[in-house]
């Protein structure tokens, strides 16, 4: 009886396993045509390569799969915040901007941009906080807070697949130039410039890891190293610390300038928010 029982359990396990395989395969076939059909600019544009192209197939799949991509948690949190009344104005984002799918499409691809009022660059995070202060009469979110990350990710997500296209002419020009200087300048105890690793040695290996071009089209990203989602500026601060340079405060002008330079440097690459990275 015992042996019979065991045999039956085994058969059941086999059936469950087979069912799993069939489900996984059908999921693959169902999603594969969607991926190909997705309206997206390619991950490589001329000599510019998205960090996506340096990922393992598993991580690429993780990013592609809307149900598995861990960054989607922030998209969903952001979707809730978009509709939540805030501040003394009791106004949600949607009271001015309506349906984000329409009003926010393309926004992420254009940031950072020159802001005529402050006569400085403004990135998406700072723009969200400006809206909070001026429209919702509410306190700005701390940089890298879950709420700011969520809204930034949700808004960025609306531009998925659109090519990054920032303006570097006119009043943005000096900020762009400053960002480029930052990128080229050696810093830290290790005395390295961003350009040395991410231009000169992109594609080479640091220990086991291939050095990417340092493109920012996927931010905010879910980064395995962090086990969470992080902003472009968190990444800059991380890189600075890695070369033993004093990290700047997140949201610092220097980092916004760098963000503009990098966005231009990756012009034409698709917005991948929320990307998955190592």
């Amino acid at each position: 009886v015992n042996a019979f029982h065991k045999e039956q359990t085994k058969r059941k396990q086999r059936q469950v396993f087979l069912l799993g395989v069939i489900l996984a395969l059908s999921a693959l076939f169902l999603t594969a045509p969607l991926l190909v059909a997705e309206d997206s600019t390619p991950y490589v544009v001329e000599d510019r390569r998205s960090g996506y192209t340096y990922l393992s197939p598993e991580n690429q799949q993780l990013q592609n799969d809307e149900f598995a991509n861990p960054g989607q948690l922030w998209v969903e949190k952001g979707r809730e915040l978009w509709q939540k009344p805030e501040g003394a104005a009791h106004a949600p984002c949607s009271s001015c901007h309506g349906d984000a799918a329409a009003s926010m499409r393309g926004v992420r691809a254009r940031y950072p941009r020159f802001d005529a009022r402050s006569k400085k660059l403004i990135n998406l995070e700072l723009q969200i906080n400006r809206c909070r202060e001026e429209r919702q009469h509410s306190a700005p979110y701390p940089y890298e807070s879950e709420a700011l990350l969520a809204l930034t990710t949700f808004i960025g997500f609306q531009s998925r697949g659109l090519p990054v296209d920032v303006r570097i002419d006119g009043p943005a020009q000096p900020f762009f130039a400053a960002g480029r200087v930052f990128f080229m300048r050696r810093r830290g105890q290790l005395d390295l410039a961003c350009a040395q690793c991410h231009e000169q040695y992109a594609g080479q290996r640091l220990r086991g890891d291939v050095i990417s071009q340092g493109q920012i089209n996927g931010f905010p990203i879910y980064r395995h190293t962090w086990q969470t989602l992080g902003s472009t500026h968190r990444m800059f601060a991380w890189c600075n610390s890695a070369i033993r340079a004093q990290p700047l405060p997140l949201g610092a002008d220097e980092y916004v300038n760098l963000e503009l330079y990098l966005a231009w440097r990756g012009r034409g690459l698709p917005v991948e928010t929320p990307a998955v990275r190592r």
Partner: protein, 123 residues
């Protein structure tokens, strides 16, 4: 931090104590210190991942004298201003150094000597 450079070498030891290759080997592998393997392939078959940014260090003890290795570690930019190799014994002329590292070289003079002694064993 004074030393004399002669024809792209630092011929004299930085300390009176001779370098210890075994200590040098540990410094080379220490991620907080030399961490050479992050950029260079090294003749260490037990290590799986080696960098490809710098030249392989296999046989470096044949190619360079102690003095040449010493300058290449102390301040390689005196030989090639464009190099990505950090200066391991230098505090001047750096920018935006993190608080905990300010005013300190990556390695001490004795650690430089230990690493030079180790590199000379790579024949």
């Amino acid at each position: 931090m004074s030393y004399d450079v002669v024809k792209n070498t630092i011929p004299a030891q930085l300390t009176n104590r001779p370098g210890d290759p075994e200590r040098g080997r540990r410094i080379v592998l220490d991620r907080e210190k030399g961490d050479c393997i992050v950029c260079h392939a090294m003749p260490l078959p037990d290590r799986q991942f080696h960098g490809t940014v710098g030249p392989p260090l296999d046989g470096v003890g044949n190619r360079y004298s102690a003095g040449a290795l010493r300058l290449r570690m102390v301040d390689p930019k005196q030989i090639n201003p464009q190099t990505s190799m950090p200066a391991y014994y230098k505090i001047e002329g750096l920018h935006q150094v993190a608080e905990g590292y300010r005013g300190k070289p990556i390695l001490t003079a004795q650690e430089i000597e230990d690493v030079v002694a180790y590199l000379l064993t790579l024949k």
